[in-house]
């Protein structure tokens, strides 16, 4: 059936012509993700809802002038970020993207004691206490509801900058280029934030899935 709206060459002209199906496709696809992103900047869900609606209105009003210097998706998320940041400042709840988040974990979330010391005669830096594979826990299903709940909680507990990158990369499945583009990050910074975020989610899951202490 329908047109391939993944292609901006199809999507943008359809929107300009008033194709409601194209607009519905965009709302269904991006609304939740836009709202999640907005919540990193503003104080309440109600304000996040307003920011997302303003973003959609900006799209409706601006689509005729959209020049396709970026993808429509990138443009949409940039509009949202600008609006959310402005609102965040106004609400005195802004959390600067680069702010330190008080992390005291190693980057990858492993205790340094789990590795042999640097002066180990045989295997310096290799595992002293290797991780326990999760899939070998027959009584625990990885996709069980409580496992997903744990993931959800771990993501919610992340510092906003890490949560934002993980949400776009791993929840929404964006490429690193898209994320860097929209959030204004270097590839290196983006990957550091993502790595820390994944490390913390892994750490939160490990005890429940039978990992070694």
């Amino acid at each position: 059936m329908g047109a391939n709206y993944d292609d901006d060459g199809v999507l943008v002209p359809a929107l300009c012509l008033g194709d409601a199906a194209a607009f519905e496709w965009m709302v269904d696809r991006y609304h939740g993700s836009l709202r999640r992103l907005a919540l990193n900047y503003v104080a309440t869900g109600a304000i996040a809802d307003e920011v997302v609606q303003e973003t959609w209105l900006a799209l409706i009003q601006g689509i005729d002038r959209f020049e396709r210097r970026s993808t429509l998706k990138t443009w949409l998320y940039r509009v949202l970020m600008n609006k959310a940041r402005t609102r965040g400042v106004r609400e005195q709840r802004t959390r600067p993207f680069s702010s330190l988040d008080g992390d005291d974990l190693t980057l990858s979330g492993f205790d340094p004691d789990r590795f042999r010391p640097a002066d180990d005669p045989e295997w310096p830096g290799h595992w002293a206490a290797p991780p326990t594979p999760w899939q070998e826990q027959p009584d625990r299903r990885l996709d069980a509801i409580d496992t997903l709940d744990r993931v959800r909680e771990a993501v919610a507990d992340l510092p906003p900058n890490q949560r934002q990158v993980l949400a776009l990369r791993d929840i929404d499945g964006w490429t690193s280029e898209e994320v860097c583009n929209v959030l204004g990050l270097s590839q290196t910074n983006q990957r550091v934030l993502l790595h820390r975020a994944r490390a913390k989610v892994r750490l939160a899951l490990d005890p429940a899935l039978g990992g070694a202490p």
């Binding site: 005729d64 595992w127 594979p133 791993d170 929840i171 790595h195 892994r202």
Partner: protein, 93 residues
């Protein structure tokens, strides 16, 4: 008598505590070719690091499932209002 493959002596094995910092770069294909080859060689012989890689993949897969959450779905009333606004604006133009 032990025969050493000269390659064993030339190629230092990647330490596990370095691999765990590189997992995301590795999965993103962001490592330089030489470093990637070292990681591949290390993964072939180190079950601990292979476990870490597998767990990283599991974390990514599980995070992907959060996108299916109900709270992510747009409220039907809001959706309707947005689509109406879209259609209205186009009638006016």
């Amino acid at each position: 008598m032990t025969v050493h493959d000269p390659a064993d002596l030339l190629e230092p094995d990647l330490p596990c505590n370095l691999f765990v910092e590189l997992v995301t770069d590795y999965l993103d294909g962001a490592l330089p070719v030489g470093q990637r080859a070292l990681v591949d060689a290390h993964l072939a012989i180190c079950t601990g690091c292979a476990t870490v890689l597998e767990q990283w993949r599991t974390v990514i897969a599980l995070a992907g499932r959060l996108g299916e959450d109900d709270i992510d779905r747009v409220d039907p009333v809001v959706r309707r209002a947005l689509v109406d606004a879209f259609s209205r604006l186009h009638r006016e133009m």
